[in-house]
Amino acid sequence: MAELKFVITGTAGVGKTTAICALSDVPPVATDADTTDELSLIKNTTTVAFDFGEVILDDGVRVRIYGTPGQERFRHMWEIIAEGALGLIILVDNSRPDPLQDLMMYIDNFQQLIAETGFVVGVTRCDRSDRVSIDDYYSYLESRELFCPVIEADPRSREDMVALMDALMAMLECA
């Protein structure tokens, strides 16, 4: 495994672009455009193509990380970005009305990538809401006969994001 490609996905505003900025060892590329709809109440810009960053591991291996747009009208990018990926990080915003439903939607949309590789779930904004617990995520995944690590993560924290990436790599080694 000389080069790895991972993908980060999840709902709009969950923190994908933020996560890639926090993680990347090279200046990240973002394709954010000004928000002109309800999302502008939450934030000023949104990803319309992809985010890109690179993490260089201790052994010199480069991990290329792509972030997807979160909004569904950009789903044409999802397939393009998923192509050739070796693993998926799904970020879930714990403060949204139905985080498990959000998780389901991204699991369904990246079904093929998940089946062929592996995935981990990062739960963000746990500082804003603890209505849904990590155990709830595990029970939900179990009900869908899926297993993967679920980790609380703040996308602004490099440390948290590295932990997610490590969990993903451990998953892939087991598989």
Partner: protein, 130 residues
């Protein structure tokens, strides 16, 4: 509130007028779409039935990529993103911070015509609505 509504409807008619002028300025131009920079369709003029919601989202991705690639290549001031095909052309041009104008033409068009018509419309739109 009422004032805002009125202003919006004036802008709407200005937008429609500009798009009409653009599509009728050159025969080979068969559709024009104005969309928001984050991928929502706003207005369109087309010779036939024309579905623009997916196109609006895709042009937003494409323009952002074109602009980023230009920057990566140290070329400033991305002016157009052009997609040239066997069957025709699409020209994408940013209008101010929040809008994208997309012109679709069949293959008989002269590229210079396509670009200058699109540029004129984009500049006029920019002056009249922002």
């Amino acid at each position: 509130m009422l004032a805002e509504k009125e202003e919006n409807s004036i802008k709407r008619s200005v937008v429609d007028q500009n798009l009409k002028e653009l599509i009728s300025s050159v025969d080979s131009i068969y559709a024009v779409v104005l969309s928001s920079i984050d991928g929502h369709p706003i207005a369109r003029q087309a010779q036939d039935n024309f579905e623009d919601s997916k196109l609006a989202a895709m042009t937003s991705s494409c323009l952002a990529l074109g602009e980023k690639i230009a920057m990566e290549a140290n070329q400033n001031g991305c002016d157009f993103v052009i997609i040239q095909n066997q069957d025709g052309f699409l020209a994408l041009k940013r209008v101010g911070r929040k809008l994208v104008l997309t012109t679709l033409a069949d293959k008989s068009i002269n590229m210079g015509m396509l670009l200058s018509a699109t540029r004129q419309a984009a500049e006029k739109l920019y002056q009249e609505i922002t």
